[in-house]
Symmetry: C3
Subunit: 386 residues, 3 copies
């Protein structure tokens, strides 16, 4: 029971990452904040129920549905994959399309997880492979299927304003702080939990320095880019995931964090534009840079660490198979899911209405000069009269 008390605290940390972290991280868009935090809540609340059901499918007990703090943590994890993929298609999909994506993605996630953990017996405590790489490549495959040539030259709402960038930092900082809880949540023993906490802590701290330095180096006049800071500072948490409970030491963790911070920042700067122009992959939040490449890095670090015997009963060939399985399921699953989402009657928004809350939300008008912004009273009146 003591264990479950600690588990509940860790569960709440993960919960904050899912609902505040992911939700606010995506509010950076100037006119898409309602959808970012609101649809995030919808997808996560739906996803965790579906994720619990999927877990019960694989781990039956007399046909009854069982629930525990441990399974609630796992349900949040399955939800995380959907929220990562959501980042790739942010602003270009309807809530119905996204609910379909959640349904299919969590099903496929749970299949892949079964393969990786039960069949292959690989180690992935912080889920660099099964959540981050999987969620990113799944989302990128969906984005490829939903490619919009009309947005090739950008969109006036695909950008931030000053305060939307500050809202996004709420998400960034909560993700950054609680990542040690994420990576240690399902570690086997208290000792391994402690190792996972400290490894993640060191990787993230080192990653911040690398991300700031790289951002300043690649930008004009040494200025920092808020997109890099909001995202690349977190890459260390992604990349150390697989190795988190292995004896890689603080120095090993920091090397992983530094590499992740550099790769991620460079990806935002140089790869994302190419992905859009050459490959037809319009990755709104740059999930390839925050979850895709750092997830791959994490998978590869796991192969190396197990080859160096940093964890008992973990083997490099199993790790490699798990990485391949995660990427494979993600790309094939994402492509199929993207095709399903492309069916015309899910209400996908036309190009000119992308990145705009007002398609799906009642948005207050802000004509401050004329004092015409809609009041609650007008609101209710106009609706009941209609």
């Amino acid at each position: 029971l003591q264990r479950s008390h600690h588990e509940y605290g860790v569960f709440q940390d993960v919960h904050v990452m899912i609902f505040i972290g992911f939700g606010f991280l995506m509010t950076f868009l100037k006119r898409y904040g309602f959808s970012s935090v609101g649809i995030n809540l919808l997808l996560a609340a739906f996803g965790l129920q579906w994720g619990l059901l999927m877990q019960n499918l694989w781990h039956m007990s007399n046909g009854k549905i069982k629930v525990s703090i441990y399974r609630m943590i796992n349900a949040d994890f399955s939800t995380a994959t959907v929220l990562i993929s959501f980042g790739a298609v942010l602003g270009k999909t309807s809530p119905v399309q996204l609910l379909i994506m959640a349904l299919l993605e969590i099903t496929i996630f749970s299949l892949n997880e079964h393969v990786v953990v039960e069949i292959l017996g690989a180690s992935d405590v912080g889920a660099s492979m099964t959540i981050h790489a999987f969620g990113a490549y799944f989302g990128l495959a969906v984005a490829r299927m939903l490619y919009r040539p009309g947005l090739r030259n950008g969109h006036e709402n695909d950008g931030s304003v000053y305060h939307s960038d500050l809202f996004a930092m709420i998400g960034t900082v909560f993700l950054w702080m609680f990542w040690p809880s994420f990576n240690s949540a399902i570690a086997g023993t208290p000792e391994q939990q402690l190792i996972a906490i400290t490894n993640t802590y060191f990787s993230l701290a080192a990653c911040v320095l690398a991300a700031y330095a790289t951002s300043s180096l690649v930008e004009e006049k040494g200025r920092l880019d808020m997109v890099h800071i909001q995202n690349a500072t977190l890459a260390g948490g992604v990349a150390v995931g697989t190795c988190a409970d292995m004896n890689i030491g603080p120095f090993g963790a920091m090397v992983i964090g530094v590499m992740a911070g550099i790769i991620s920042t460079l990806g935002f700067k140089f790869l994302t534009p190419k992905f859009a122009s050459k490959l037809g992959i319009q990755d709104t939040c740059g999930v390839h840079n925050l979850h895709g490449m750092p997830g791959l890095l994490g998978g590869m670090a796991g192969i190396i660490a197990t080859a160096l015997h940093k964890k008992e009963n973990a083997f490099p060939q199993k790790q490699a198979a798990a990485l391949a399985s995660s990427i494979g399921f993600a790309l094939v699953g994402g492509a199929i899911t993207g095709l399903v989402m492309k069916i015309p009657f899910w209400g996908q928004p036309p190009d000119q209405n992308c990145f705009d809350d007002s398609v799906y939300w009642e948005v207050p008008e802000e004509d401050e000069e004329n004092g015409e912004s809609m009041t609650h009273a007008d609101h209710s009146k106009s609706k009941t009269e209609a």
Copy 2:
């Protein structure tokens, strides 16, 4: 002592709900954010001290004031009733009026709680009746007493702007995430705590889906209304409160959550305008929809669940009496409190200054074109010269 360690974590979760959750939930008004989060802090800081004193009044020990984590949780609970009532009169009362309300409401709350728990022996672990229904009907009675005919046609500041709605979502999401801690905080045994956690979790998850679906159904063109999402998504936490530690099962919890989400959304859409126009009850935040009706629902669910023997030593007739007591104390106490608050010299703002921080706060001027916004230096200078 292990227990107190877990209790401290739960206390902090409840603390976050009180100070961040309630505080930011009310920042949705475009020009009343300073008061929402600032007066929330003032009322809560005052209320918890008064609440501790009231507890000591009922549970004396040799005339000495005692404090424990458990009592600190209960003090936060007593504060919650005031913050709920605050929502009903938000924007239309002075800080002094509100402090008087806090003083009287916590006193009456503690009286009712004594009746419900000690005399009637009813069960209300998540306080659907003693906090939510009580706080809501207390606030509505106050609002009725303070009815302002001048606001019948609305007020230009009684509405949101884009970023004020995002600030409010900070409150919503923190309330949503930590509600399982609220409903399980004072459960008797660790087993009952776990049941309260999972029941609340399921009710809230189901409630989100119901609130989104209902909001989309009742709005034009299937759009979502931010007011519904900010509030009705939480109704499941309110409604499952009384039953939280009973063996209603995940399915029972989800039924309660779905009903709460639907009722709450419909209330915002159809009831709140009628309350203002027909009954003279101007309920700024719609607390009747988030706390009032879901609280009643929770009380009735408790009657049914105890009739079905879902909890040992809990009986439907006691539950019904507790519900009646809570509503009774709330309506009578709220009416008397409203009369006291109506006494002219508490500085109640005139109609045209409602929903406006600048009556009670130094508000920065935002004339960006002329660069005239007040600087710190000007600030201090103008004050010391005056």
Copy 3:
């Protein structure tokens, strides 16, 4: 191990104070939010690594670097001193200057802490002296060295706008809520932890009332000043720090909190302008009022409490020596550090670019009329073309 489970929760609370609390508290400036929360993250991530190294320097174990939750809490503590000093020079220093300050300040902090704890054997569980007074006077000494006559008449960006003040309240409220964790984190026994929690809780609650009352008394027309509310409400947490684990009782804690709230508010109102005009100390955030004077008050309260035998094995003369040591190290260390920071090639911004993110950050342009705000696509394009 149970202990470490509780410690991890407390560590996360402290972490939230460091990264969200300090970070958002400083976002009150209208055009300096990116730097406030962004440079706060950079300094803290750097500082905790350096702080861990310093701890290992003083507490060697076979030449190996050791890490534990306890040391991670202490690393956050050492970081706090830097973030306090950051407040004094906010808006007037470059990131490189600040990293140099972090390096030197943490080194000197760790030296002073060694003197206070190991050599003098003084008691300072919540670190009123070693963190708050030290950080404040260090920062003020740096600010004196970096005095800018050109800002004598203020600066148009040295002020807030409506929503920047709301962002700052996120920081205030998280600091306020989790301060009991801060002051109890390194208490010796679970009993002392509980005492530290409740003392801090009472001091903070009383402090809020004092700060509101004082702010209303000294402002025109009884209005509240957001600067006071954001800061002075926290002074009770600072001032009760040294005595937190002593048997001063709820009433003693509340007296300290009330005094801190009054002193702090009066400081913002009357002292800060004088410091700038008479002493050449331009204290952007008023850290003298939130950390300096309340820290001194805390140190003196500790002297009195130990003289009254409120804690075993703690003595007033040792406390007085610890206070003197902390102030001494701070003033001398801060002056030297300020001189180092004054060396021309660290990129200190010119007067007209103070309090402005755009010197160090890519800032989105907000010309909404013309819809010209920079999009992500433009962004990447312009950069890769350059």
